[in-house]
Symmetry: C2
Subunit: 194 residues, 2 copies
């Protein structure tokens, strides 16, 4: 017989970065010290799953049909930034140095996992980028193999439609000592020097 405790531990293991030991510790902690926290988490999970959908315009998480960023008319309509996930979008927002709009792919091209351009909403992106006023699409995909492939495919499609597509600068991270930066990064920083 599977007990409620075992069911809870299994459910906690679905969280990213949580294995058997952490899940056990979390379950014991909630039951022994924080039953109120367990009740809150249960309600918050249900509310989030029910209320959070996707913005019809940029595909990020939103409780409304159009998210607060897309609805903000004070932003610069000439800039459209393409990111892989709402988490990446949140990171860009925290920099306070971007004032345009976003398009969230919710994935990246990965042929091995059966993820093609259709799954990441490339067609919707092309429609969005073709709207009047968009002067530049910034491809802020990750600098991983899959992120690069995604940026390449989308960049080609955008440029073939006469839309300017740029990529985030590659270079030495702020605060790093050159000695410890990997050679690929240094090579890129040399080529893109300014």
């Amino acid at each position: 017989m599977v007990t409620a405790l075992e069911t809870l531990i299994e459910a906690l293991k679905r969280l990213p970065g949580v294995g058997q030991k952490s899940a056990q510790r979390m379950a014991y902690h909630l039951l022994q010290h924080d039953r109120d926290g367990a009740a809150r988490l249960s309600l918050a999970l249900r509310a989030a799953a029910e209320q959070i959908g996707h913005c019809r315009r940029c595909h990020t998480f939103s409780e409304t049909e159009i998210c607060s960023i897309c609805a903000d008319v004070s932003r610069d309509p000439a800039l459209l930034c393409v990111v892989e996930s709402p988490a990446d979008q949140a990171a860009l927002e925290r920099t306070n140095s971007y004032r345009g709009y976003y398009f969230v792919l919710l994935g990246r091209v990965s042929p091995l996992d059966g993820v093609g351009t259709a799954q990441i909403g490339a067609a919707e992106l092309l429609l969005r980028a073709a709207e009047t006023g968009v002067a530049e699409v910034i491809l802020a995909c990750s600098f991983t193999a899959e992120g690069e492939a995604t940026a390449h495919v989308l960049g080609e499609a955008l440029r073939s439609r006469g839309i300017r597509a740029t990529r985030l600068a590659r270079g030495v991270p702020v605060g790093s000592e050159l000695e410890y930066v990997d050679l690929g990064t240094i090579a890129h920083a040399l080529v893109d020097r300014r």
Copy 2:
């Protein structure tokens, strides 16, 4: 306005070892890739909080009035092992080298936090230990300051009632090289040599 996403992140931060960044990652992961996992976790948390209470006899987590270990008549009634938490009990059970019964304190004496012998069920333990058939109480509290204090207080009370109270052996952990073991542990291992 607090959004459902923010509420979820706050609720996830109540889990032990989960800070702002991990909570964000968990929330984004559940919403983007595992909405089924979020629903399961929500149900499991509610079911656990509703169904899991404490064994009337040993105070461990149990969905029944008497837990499966206390109800197991094949165990040795002469041994009673006192542990601080159900997690400690689970660790002892996994060793497969203890066949007696348990008493779970659900805490340890900590005057600074207002936890005295009453809060950890010392009176119930003394009643339980006085039952006919109990020959020895093993105090398996942690070897921390608070665990030692708890073991000391309980040991005194048990011995004053003529009940034999023992403590887990202290010594060098299995697999360790002496060079890296702390001095206090080596000193204890020397004193308790056999």
